[in-house]
């Protein structure tokens, strides 16, 4: 019953800038259902970290409880991981990032884990701009407990057993933008190209990334009447335009028609290009992002792509004015004040 077995060797021989092959970024074999959107997301994570040449031993993977939260076992097998309690990933991740701000934190959560039991921590993580990537694998239902409705299920969508959701959904992207998250994007697990670009841009960003990925549950929520089914999402996906990401270490010159492309420079020098975006859409305009989300939701559509970005706001660890060296690595000399310091404190209490 031990379920972590090494994955099959990867076919490619291609190496990245750390001289690692893609196999170095894989994890154990997935135990999720065949066709689960989450598996596709795991694949994109493997590709993105490989292509960006990120050292997997400097990555920490964090998750809560649910099908989504099992997935960190299926990628980046040499990274440290913390599978926490239901809804508590954000809090645990915040603590880990405080302990060692040099680690690249990747949190994976689900819609129940984030929008229901973990909502309290989610909103504060967004406010704090904790430097990490927070992926919500959003299928509108609780898979691991067999298909109950979650708070991101759309109004009027039905469960497999015919139960109709009569409450309005939580829009995690809108919430994150309002709360001050600095990189907010939505994608679809089946859109390889868009998701890969967004993940790479997310890796280059310094601050909180919220990546809400519609990821259909093939077992409990992939039927007529569900708005998180493959068929529905494919039909109603409204991409903001093609997204292209150029990492800082690639010297590609991009030449797009002016007026149809929006370029955003990220903190590390990487660039994101939004090609053929809707006229006048500016991903650095909060109000535009919020009104787009509202308009598409009214039409029963999903706006996907990079919805909002604020590349330069100070992250939580910057605000705390932490020393350069990770707190977890500080030697005793830096941690314990001197004998004179204690004497001074005592003197004032005499």
């Amino acid at each position: 019953m031990t379920t972590e077995t090494p994955a099959a060797p990867a076919p490619g021989r291609k190496l990245n800038r750390l001289n690692l092959d893609v196999q170095s970024y894989r994890g154990g074999k997935s135990t999720l259902c065949a066709g689960c959107g989450h598996n596709a997301i795991s694949e994109r994570i493997v590709e993105a970290y490989f292509e960006m040449g990120i050292d997997p031993t400097g990555v920490i993977k964090l998750s809560g409880i649910g099908c989504s939260s099992k997935s960190p076992a299926y990628f980046l097998g040499t990274s440290h991981a913390f599978n926490a309690a239901h809804g508590r990933m954000a809090a645990v991740a915040t603590g880990a990032v405080l302990a060692n701000k040099q680690l690249r934190a990747l949190g994976v959560s689900g819609d129940g884990d984030t929008s229901a039991i973990g909502a309290g921590h989610f909103v504060h993580l967004m406010r704090r701009n904790v430097p990490m990537i927070y992926i919500v694998e959003n299928n509108g239902c609780y898979g691991l407990t067999k298909g109950q409705i979650s708070p991101t299920a759309d109004l009027g969508s039905t469960l497999k057993n015919g139960v109709v959701n009569d409450l309005p959904p939580m829009d995690l992207c809108a919430l994150a933008i309002q709360l001050g998250a600095t990189f907010v994007a939505r994608s679809f697990s089946g859109d390889k190209k868009q998701l890969a670009s967004l993940l790479k841009a997310a890796i280059a960003h310094r601050g909180t990334v919220l990546l809400d990925v519609i990821s259909p549950c093939v077992t409990f929520n992939d039927h007529e009447g569900s708005t998180k089914s493959y068929a529905y999402v494919k039909e109603h996906d409204d991409p903001l335009g093609e997204i292209l990401f150029v990492p800082y270490f690639d010297d590609i010159v991009v030449d797009y028609e002016p007026g149809t492309t929006k370029e955003v420079k990220l903190h590390d020098g990487s660039r994101v290009y939004l090609k053929k975006i809707e006229e006048g859409y500016n991903p650095q305009d909060k109000l535009a992002a919020l009104s787009l989300l509202d308009e598409t939701a009214r039409k029963g559509e999903f706006a996907t792509g990079l919805l909002y970005i604020e590349p330069d706001r100070r992250s939580f660890t910057d605000l705390l004015n932490l020393v350069d060296q990770p707190l977890s690595m500080l030697p005793e000399e830096a941690l314990r004040p001197s004998r004179e310091a204690l004497e001074q404190i005592m003197e004032r209490l005499r």
Partner: protein, 611 residues
Amino acid sequence: MPPEDADRDRPQDSASPAQVINDFSIQVATVNGSGSQTANLVLIRSLFQMGIPVSGKNLFPSNIAGLPTWYTIRASKHGYLGRKKEIDLLVAMNPETAKEDVLALDAGAAVIYDEPLRLQDLRSDLTFYPVPFDKLVAPVCPDAKLRRLVRNMIYDGALSKLLGIEMAEMEHALGRQLGRKARAVALNLAALKAGYDFAAASLPKRDPFCVERMNATQGKILIEANAAVAIGAMMAGVTVVTWYPITPSSTVCETLIEYMKQYRLDKESGKATFAIVQAEDELASIGMALGAGWAGARSMTATSGPGLSLMSELTGLGYYTEVPAVIIDVQRLGPSTGLPTRTAQGDILSAAVLSHGDTRHIMLIPHSAEECYELTMTAFDLAERFQTPVFVMTDLDLGMNTWVSDVFTYPDRPLDRGKRLDAETLKRLGEWGRYVDVDGDGIAYRSVPGDGMPAYFNRGSGHNTRGQYSERPDDYRNNLDRLARKFETARQWVPREAVDVDPEAEIALIAYGSSHWAVEEARDQLRDEAGVRTSYMRLRAYPFTTEVERFIDRHTRVYVVEQNRDAQMLSLLKLDLTPGQVGKLRSVLYYTGLPIDARSVTDEVLAQERA
């Protein structure tokens, strides 16, 4: 002060004209928000400066302004720092409670009161000192808006004269209390003198209580134990502090912030060697502390009962995934909201086994400010040594009241960072598994992210020795048995019980934490008043060491004294003892929300002895 029981016929000796020197209690009854804190602290500090052992206990409401509050100050030449049940001097400033406060006094007590309250006709067996506060304050404080704040210094002045507290010491204490605020010092000083002069002119001394200079506080400090915890945490090298405000623990972290800003900024860059975060709730504060502990930081949180309840699930996660963190629990009274500003030892049982499934936690239980400092440092070492959440169980009486303490000594041993995997260990082990019990003590070697050692998957779900997900029955059981073995190992590492065996004693007392002060005094009362000799063991940690069994075996009857209703520590003791040993145990329980007092312990022990 609310009547705590009906037993009011204590034999009186204060009716005699003989002086009672350095052995009395003062209770100041005011309305909260009226600015009496300065006056009360000046009184305590003056007595302290005169070398007299003194303690101050604030019996305050969970409110910011308008409800009754009582402050009790005890001077004791014997060094008794626990609450004294009997009030010897009452300062009645609160019209709402004055009558009830006076009626609750024992015969022979003295009352300083606001003249318009006209309390003098309520009793004929007390000494009354009327003081016209408003008339006295007006000339010394022309600004009517400030009068409320300096008015209380008048009772300090009157007490100074009546008790013989040296005015020079009062003035010095006032300067210490108010610092450089020259105008405030001048106004308060004027009020102090007005009170003194009035008492000298109009209040002939008719009670027996007075002070005389002693030499019992030389080299000592005055401190609230929450500050002692903060100093301990800083000296232990805490790096990540996550907390949520809750009475009575908030001042642990608030004081810590002040100290850390002073002593833990990098000298060259001015940057912080710590992160302190006020979290959104206690679920987050323990979650962050565990995330940080997992990633290699020395992390802590501080809370009280309701927060402890919220931390339950994640504390179990910390236990099962074996992640260090220090949890300071400043206990307050009651289930639910209870009484947030009253003290208790009511979280002992729940903290010991906090969370579902089979869990068991290490608790350290300090009895004094000094021990709060020392055991907080120990808690960080044990948390990393045992890779588990460790509790420091203090309470409101320790944490928020003013204590005379020995100065804190500089730690004499380096930080214990526990069994961390390094290149050398990895070579020695050959193959590493996160939960492999290499040394047979239940403690495995751990790596932390960023240390260059192999990674593992930290998970709260079932896992095998390599940290892999497993539902195998033998994996589960082996893991739980190893955790039990680890807890057994902790018996040899926790601070030992403090034992004072009287070879002639048939009976013994066991206590812990702040109950110590009442028990120490009760032992003297039992010996001096009833001829009952006792041995005493003060518990300092859970798990207990084997010393506990030996101690119980030496005695016929053993009274476990604690400040809760359900004999929580006695219940924990029972788990470790034989039926014969359990049969010797009896309970002395105190749970009114007021700090336990010696008289209540003495009376209860004697009642059970005579039953």
